[in-house]
């Protein structure tokens, strides 16, 4: 089985839209399992629709809580906390800030009164279900929680299990934006990174950072220039960057009204059949063929 991550340093370049279209195309010729690895903004389930999802809690890290009745206000916890999570209010009461607490337990260890407890709760959920283009795993982090990267790893593992169960040919992963912890978690052990770039100053800057990350992890990269006709100058920057770095620019997709309209359809596009009616969709089909060619998966669609 092969795995492909659709990613971009910059957000909003079209990762989810293209993943959903590729998933529709892939469903025609190979057995694909989909993974939405953007757990802070999980949109692939909206695009493809998911039925009969079974979910489980994602356990977060522990958080410190204080029992103000037994607290002797000695301040030892505040001294030892390195995350600024323990504050003393005007009345001299120690207040624990859950958003800053990283759950290390240093405070609980030094509290002589035994007033501090480390409590673990759900920090999100991870799910698997059936979408209009095959089985899909996805997750959702509760706002304000940390461990985004760990949840990405769990969601990916769930996708791999689904893929094993159905003997899939392809694991198609919709990645998170950025180059940090969640992005690195999404890219682990991947056969190909498909970078979606837009022809803007930000687009070329963030593509360069993503390409550098892929180089560090020794990952193969292919670039798709999306919204290619938005700026002739910007498109040239992307083309030049790819040529300089020896990265294959496998497709240029024009800014096409029919593609751009897809994310605005809340429930409509799960039944959407990508055709080749528009120049934009023809470019998507040829991009998908190129991806299949690079990893050796049937992508005749």
């Amino acid at each position: 089985m092969k795995s492909v991550v659709i990613a971009s340093g910059k957000g909003g370049t079209g990762k989810t839209t293209l993943t959903a279209l590729f998933a529709h195309l892939a469903a025609k010729s190979c057995c694909t399992v989909l993974v939405d690895a953007d757990v802070e903004g999980s949109n692939l389930p909206i695009a493809l629709g998911v039925e009969e999802a079974s979910c489980e809690d994602f356990k977060g890290g522990a958080k410190a809580t204080v029992d103000t009745e037994s607290c002797k206000a000695c301040g030892a916890c505040q001294t030892v906390c390195r995350f600024g999570a323990i504050l003393r209010d005007e009345a001299g009461v120690y207040v624990f800030d859950q958003l800053s607490c990283e759950g290390c337990g240093a405070c609980a260890r030094v509290c002589k009164a035994g007033a501090i407890k480390m409590e673990t709760g759900a920090a999100g959920s991870m799910c698997a279900g059936t979408s209009s283009a095959g089985r899909m795993s996805f997750g959702s982090l509760l706002p304000g929680e940390d461990l985004s990267g760990k949840l990405v790893t769990e969601v990916r593992r769930l996708g791999l299990k689904e893929a094993d169960d159905c003997d899939a040919d392809l694991l198609l992963i919709d990645g998170p934006p950025g180059v940090g912890c969640p992005a690195i978690a999404a890219l682990a052990d991947t056969d190909l990174l498909v970078a979606i770039a837009e022809p803007t100053v930000s687009g070329v800057h963030d593509l360069a950072r993503l390409a550098e990350l892929a180089y560090r992890f020794d990952l193969g990269v292919a670039v798709i220039l999306n919204k290619a006709d938005l700026s002739a100058e910007g498109a040239d920057w992307i083309r030049e960057f790819c040529a300089e770095r020896g990265l294959p620019l496998i497709a240029e997709i024009p800014y096409a009204p029919d593609i751009a309209a897809l994310p605005t359809m809340r429930f409509g596009w799960r039944d959407y059949e990508p055709g080749t009616a528009s120049p934009g969709m023809a470019a998507v089909v040829s991009a998908w063929r190129a991806v299949g060619g690079l990893i050796g998966v049937d992508s005749r669609a």
């Binding site: 910059k10 949109n43 390195r82 706002p143 180059v179 940090g180 912890c181 100053v201 100058e233």
Partner: protein, 320 residues
């Protein structure tokens, strides 16, 4: 009150706190940087002193629209545990106590997984043989400088080293640097998402602008951001970017959630073209000033409540 002369340049802060505006969104690519950079310029042109801190350290883009002359560059490090295997007796206390699974005894030798080490110091203080020490690991850098475009506008940019994972600690360092400088207003350009990075970028702000787009994706991610913002108890205003590009009704949703849509930027190919080449809509599109003023007037109203002097400044200097 501070002197007007001080407003002409950003000077090191002496106890004066600027009004802090965070510009964020759950979804990426909705226009955070567009809104943050153009508002910063609108205010600087109106005579305010403005700080713009780019907290999207994984993909910092504000400097592309507002080039600055860097006058200070700081390397940012974070602490990680570093064991001395000679002094270690492999008792396993560190491994038992580490909440993150970052220390293990493998084959009688202590091993630290630096990517997941939080640098909390629990293993250091609990090691019976004193074998666990600490070292600093570079995670990125923070640069700052005055924008070439305006003396009254200072940029602070956090940039995560490629391959590093500790974005939240670098965001903290970026904000610390920004808060060392004096200004009327500090604009925080936040990263997308709702996890620890977004929290680090928008915490303790005076107001939160959430930029969204009228799509199913935009709406879904706005809902998550609203949860985060209301947890923090911040005044929230929603800006609808690419307004008119889709049928999704953000206003209806916002009303149901009891937040206000405080500005709209239309769906207009010219905006995308100006942005693409690194331009500012406030410079190139005559209508942009009125879109931005609408957003600014909401911020003035919020500042009126929490920081009246900043509100006066905003109003006076904006010429109203």
């Amino acid at each position: 009150m501070r002197s007007r002369a001080a407003a002409d340049r950003c000077e090191l802060a002496d106890g004066y706190a600027p009004f802090i505006l965070a510009v964020a969104s759950g979804k990426g690519g909705t226009g955070k940087t567009l809104v943050a950079t153009n508002l910063a310029v609108l205010w600087a042109d109106a005579g305010l002193s403005v700080l713009l801190a780019d907290c999207d350290v994984e993909a910092p883009n504000s400097h592309l629209f507002l080039p600055a002359r860097t006058d200070k560059l700081t390397s940012v490090e974070s602490k990680v545990a570093r064991p001395d295997s000679q002094a270690c007796n492999a008792c396993g206390t560190c491994s038992d106590l580490c909440a993150f699974g970052a220390v293990r005894i493998l084959g009688g030798t202590p091993v630290v997984f630096e990517e997941i080490c939080h640098g909390c110091g629990v293993c250091v203080s609990s090691c019976p043989t004193g074998a666990m020490g600490e070292c600093s690991l570079r995670v990125g850098e923070v640069s700052t400088g005055v924008a070439k475009r305006s003396q009254r506008l200072r940029l602070v940019t956090g940039r995560l080293d490629i391959g590093q994972v500790k974005a939240p600690s670098l965001i903290g360092a970026t904000r610390e640097e920004a808060e060392r400088w004096d200004a009327d207003i500090l604009v925080l350009d936040a990263p997308p998402g709702v996890a620890c990075s977004a929290v680090a970028a928008v915490r303790h702000a005076d107001a939160l602008l959430l930029v969204t787009e009228p799509t199913a994706f935009g709406l879904h991610d706005l809902e998550l951001s609203l949860m985060l913002g209301s947890d923090m108890g911040l005044p929230i205003g929603v800006v609808v970017n690419r307004d008119g590009s889709g049928p999704t009704d953000i206003a209806e949703f916002a009303t149901a959630q009891r937040v206000d849509v405080v500005g709209r930027i239309p769906f207009d190919r010219r905006i995308a073209e100006v942005y693409a080449r690194g331009g500012l809509i406030v410079d190139e599109l005559p209508e942009a000033t009125s879109w931005l003023r609408t957003i600014s007037s909401w911020i003035e109203d919020v500042a009126e409540g929490s920081a009246p002097s900043a509100a006066d400044g905003l109003r006076e200097r904006a010429g109203r």
